[in-house]
Symmetry: C2
Subunit: 407 residues, 2 copies
């Protein structure tokens, strides 16, 4: 691949790299986490009980947020950690009319050893810069963004994710917003970085597995030359209508297909994997490729691929002791799924994402075809899930885990 996903250019199609370079503002004053000003709350909130209505509605954030203001004229002002509170815009603000905003989804994990950790956060920070560039929001050093994120976790972590809650996590949402108050459609001259930490409800019991409804040609999530591989806000609203359709069909999410061939891209806002036995008899882990730029390059997706290649690949069977797995990123279609089912060689399917982690898929519905997927035929997915959790929660010392200092 030649990509380590620590540089924003690893996420953008080459044609955009060139445009971005030509388009970038020269920022005299860069984003600088060392200049963070703390303006801490004098009226801290109560941590809500686990069954709180607001919590279940994803409406509870921690006591603080980080705010960074940028203008084309002066660059980045000193970032501030302030009490979580409303922000105000003129009603002409760019983001409200032209969707000049992008974001990231990350988690901070409370380890069983009592430590707080982020999971490959430099990946998210580099991707955030790539998303910002795709829609002409300002440049920043992803390393500085990461320092700010860690600082917020340091301050709010001990109270909102105490050591007693080991094995749980908080959700981190960095957002970059075009705040320019000009109705003229143009590259924003003002922007606002906001980093939030949200109290994410724990999943209620072990999932029975997701049911997915395939999208039809009347609704397409992304396309070549679009923004499907960037985490920009504009990707989201258009999918709400089809998501409602899925619910009405008794499904949990949409399985987004692309083109007349029905290429499988994403499921809801997560990446989709299948495990099947190919006609030649090999066990394969398959997911859609990044090269089409139709899907988000998920950090969980990449980590599952990396772990599977490193530890379950064909040359290293001895280590894990189970049947080798061929790991493949390639286009595949819903017809391939049907065919594998008919051959009896579909072994499992699952979706992955930071919010949902790794969830089994038990059912895929496409027009009148229903595909039932059993999940217990091979141990590989369960092993991958365990390795991931071990890294997140300190059960395994790994370079992907980035410890947050506390106190």
């Amino acid at each position: 691949m030649g990509r380590n996903f620590q540089d924003a250019n690893d996420f953008l199609p080459p044609a955009f790299e060139r445009m971005v370079t030509a388009n970038a503002w020269s920022t005299s004053s860069p984003l600088d986490a060392s200049r963070l000003k703390l303006k801490l709350t004098t009226s801290p909130k109560d941590v809500p009980p686990p069954d709180s209505k607001d919590l279940l509605a994803h409406k509870v954030c921690t006591d603080h947020m980080i705010v960074g203001r940028w203008t084309s004229e002066k660059g980045w002002a000193d970032p501030e950690m302030v009490p979580f509170a409303p922000i105000s815009f003129l009603p002409t603000a760019s983001v409200l009319h032209y969707s000049t905003s992008c974001f990231e989804g990350m988690k901070v994990y409370r380890g069983f050893d009592g430590k707080l950790r982020l999971f490959r956060p430099e990946y998210n920070c580099a991707r955030m810069l790539a998303s910002a560039r795709r829609i002409c929001l300002p440049e920043f050093d992803p390393k500085e963004l990461l320092k700010l994120i860690k600082k917020l976790c340091e301050v709010d972590g001990p109270k909102w994710l105490p050591k007693s809650r080991h094995g749980e996590s908080l959700y981190i949402r960095p957002t970059l917003i075009g705040s320019d108050s000009s109705l003229g459609f143009q590259v924003p001259h003002e922007a606002l970085l906001v980093i939030l930490v949200s109290y994410w409800p724990a999943p209620t019991g072990p999932s029975k597995g997701l049911r997915l409804l395939c999208s039809g040609e009347e609704a397409v999530r992304s396309w070549p030359g679009g923004t499907g591989s960037a985490k920009v806000s504009g990707n989201y609203a258009p999918s709400l209508l089809v998501h409602g359709e899925a619910k009405r069909h008794g499904c949990d999410q949409v399985l987004w297909l692309f083109g007349p061939e029905g290429y499988i891209t994403e499921a809801g806002s997560a990446n989709f994997f299948v495990v099947w036995r190919c006609p030649q008899g090999k066990l394969q882990l398959v997911t859609a490729p990044l090269s089409d730029h139709l899907i988000l390059a998920g950090v969980t997706r990449q980590s599952v691929l990396d772990l599977a290649r490193e530890r379950l690949g064909e040359s290293i069977v001895a280590i894990s002791g189970c049947e080798p797995l061929e790991v493949i990123e390639r286009r595949f279609t819903v017809s391939d799924l049907v065919e594998a089912t008919q051959r009896g060689s579909l072994v499992g399917a699952f979706v992955v994402g930071t919010a949902c982690f790794m969830q089994p898929v038990v059912h895929v519905q496409n027009d009148n075809t229903e595909i039932a997927i059993a999940q217990d035929k091979v141990p590989h997915v369960e092993i991958l899930r365990k390795w991931m959790k071990d890294i997140m929660f300190g059960g395994e010392d790994n370079i992907w885990a980035d410890e947050v200092a506390e106190e």
Copy 2:
């Protein structure tokens, strides 16, 4: 066509109509303009001079705006006319992360007879509802929206577009915003309607004509099954990068092509028309069709088509006294443009939109091909422009002009 563009369903692909019906909230309390509460400003602003920096930057709005709040629980609250001022959101607001917003662009015209008029405003209001439905924002009666818009023009029109400024206009921007403060990705349970009136700078002298750079396959504005025919915010930010590319090539706007064939769709955020003589000798006015749902169904586009068909069409030459014009909505490509140029039969090209009105195109650049377009070969475009202005500014009594009561 069977469409009169006074119903939101005239703008949506049929597959979405079905989903919308199933998805709509039942709103016990509908949007009701008769319940408008006036909370007028006590500190009115000065109208800026025509060369004001803020004015040229599209940053000046009139004294008031209309705000309407909606919740899934209670429906629409009484709309309010309040002083133009910042609005505040929790930083978790849906619109900031998931681009749940849509808008309209309209103008109010000060006639040479001293009267204020809107131009086919029911068209914009129906389209606004269609855009809202496409991204699961709440239902409203377009007629009530129109009443609110007219009320705002009544109050701010006399001061901000006085009778002395006949022949000029103000820009109206109704916006509907998902304001739900849940980070969970879902249909917003809260929304905010905001209607602004902006002081739009007058064009500086007669335009020499636009230069357009054709987009390449690396950047595609819209796609079948996407949102290209809805006026949703998510359509806009992704085009900023390519717009910068156009500027660097000495062009004013992007000519958005679609597919390997290079179908011409929109120019910037405007609709594109060409006038050419077909090989059989007929003079034709050609623009991209709505049926692909790749382009916005512009009100200026539709009006040019309607006027051309009614008054310049083949059966009614006698009325206008000039050569008949065949009016065609169909797919056409940039190669067709090149070919017409080579045949010497390209007669003119122009873009239309509410903001830009009707502007000639003098140059189209595609890779290394440059197409120069002369504009003075036939009088038809100039005649159409005159008819449009006559309707807008009261020179012709027409059902498209909707008078705004004053005092």
